[in-house]
Structure formats: C-alpha cells, structure tokens
C-alpha cells in the first residue's frame, strides 16, 4: 500500500470527525435540503415548508475539508509524516462519538 494513501487515510480519519462535529455544533452545512419541497439550497437556509435538513450538508463540508487535508498531507516530507501517530485514526473518531453522546444527552435525561 502506498505511503500516500496511508497518509491520506489517516489524516482523513482525523480531520473528518473534527470538522463534522464543528459543522453540526455551529451549523456549517455546505448545503441545505428541504425534503417537503425536494429542493436544495447552497449553504445554511432556514426551513421553508416542513423541516430543513442539514445532515447531508454537514457530511459534504466534512468530506471536502478532510479530502483537501488528506491530499495536503500527501505532500508532506517523509520526516514530518513520520511524526503523525496512526492511532489518531481511531482516537479522534472515538472522541467525536463521545462528543455526540454528550451533545444529545438531553434526549436521554429528560
């Protein structure tokens, strides 16, 4: 397996959950979907008729940022790339999962 893909995979796994968590928390959706109207809008839009869905937009934001970060990591010199601990690929997503359990705690504590 190439060094470039391993770097990309690790950096993607680290950056994606962080950007996703921030996107959900601050609502940085790349686009909004209005399911009742079957319409998309660029960026964050208020609900029109029925609910506005940001989940797809949050994933799009995270994928774009993590993809760019992964590609940038491929350009790192070998010396710098060696300092990246591969374990972050599971530690950071685990922290993101715990963050969401905390964020949604009111649903379970009411």
């Amino acid at each position: 397996m190439s060094r470039a893909f391993s770097l990309f995979a690790i950096v993607f796994a680290v950056v994606y959950p962080v950007v996703y968590a921030v996107s959900v928390w601050k609502n940085y959706a790349l686009f909004t979907y209005h399911p009742a109207l079957n319409e998309f809008g660029l960026g964050v839009e208020k609900p029109r008729e029925g609910p506005a869905m940001y989940w797809y937009g949050w994933m799009a934001t995270s994928s774009v940022v993590a993809g760019l970060a992964g590609l940038a990591a491929c350009l790192l010199p070998e010396q710098a790339a060696r300092r990246l601990w591969p374990g972050l690929a599971w530690v950071v997503p685990l922290c993101a999962m715990l963050f969401f359990a905390w964020l949604l705690r009111d649903y379970f504590l009411r």
Partner: protein, 150 residues
C-alpha cells in the same frame, strides 16, 4: 417506493452486520487452534477478506439510508416528537451522527486491513462494528414504533 428502499436498506444492513461481526470477532477474540465449536468457527474466518465487502456494504447501506432519511424527517420524526419519545428520537439522531463519523473512518479501516502489522485493525473494526450494531438496532426499534406508511 420508500418501503421498498427501507427493506433493501434493512437487508443490506443484515449482510453488513454479519460481515463486520465475523471480522470483529476474529480480530478481537482470535481462534487459537483448529475450531471445533460454533463460536470457534465463527471466530476462525479469514478476516482480511471481509474488508472490501464491509466497505461496499457500508457505503451502499449508508446511501440508501440517506435517501430514506428525508421521508423519516417528514413522516416519522414528527410523530416521535409528538409522542414525546425522546429516547427513541435521540437514539436515531445519534445513529445518523455515528453513521456519518464511521463513513469518515472507512479509508483508514480499509487501509488497516492491508497493513502487515495491522495495529489499527482491532480498534477501527470494533468501532465500526459498534456503529453498525447501534444503527441496526435503533433503526429496527424506530421502525417498530412508527414504520413508513403506517
């Protein structure tokens, strides 16, 4: 149409559940000798061979889930809120976030199964298995509470 997609989504999830559970069991609780029992044979599978299948099934299941999620927001979530079923509602919210986070782990998961040392296999596979199980059970329970078209 949504019901058909939901059934296909569920069937794909069952296949994914089987594949990831086999793989997780084999990496977390490896069989140490020729397996004789049912659990021994369950753990003694050639786990690396499951990685491609898991990735493809996860992506397909997630795509179908994303398609029917819109209908859920319109016709199911409203009912959960009205019935004050907060735990079910929250569990489904968590399901969607866990599904998204696990999607971002897939490249690293796939890569880990192609490494000779495979130090990342156990944690990434265990986390993916947890997400798949959580999402399967929550989806099943919420569908029991309020299925599409009911």
């Amino acid at each position: 149409m949504t019901t058909v997609l939901l059934i296909v989504h569920g069937l794909l999830a069952v296949a994914l559940l089987g594949a990831i559970t086999h793989q997780a069991a084999s990496v977390l609780w490896p069989a140490t000798r020729p397996a004789g029992s049912f659990t021994g044979r369950f753990r003694a599978v050639a786990a690396p061979g499951y990685a491609n299948t898991v990735v493809v099934l996860y992506v397909l299941t997630a795509i179908l889930g994303a398609v029917i999620y819109a209908e859920y927001r319109i016709s199911v979530r409203v009912v959960l809120v009205e019935m004050k079923l907060d735990a079910a509602n929250g569990s489904f919210e968590l399901k969607e976030h866990l599904a998204a986070i696990a999607l971002g782990m897939l490249p690293a998961y796939w890569w880990s199964w192609r490494q000779p040392d495979g130090r990342l296999r156990a944690p990434l596979t265990a986390m993916l298995a947890f997400v798949v199980w959580w999402n399967f059970l929550v989806g099943h329970i919420v569908n029991n509470i309020r299925g599409f078209g009911s």
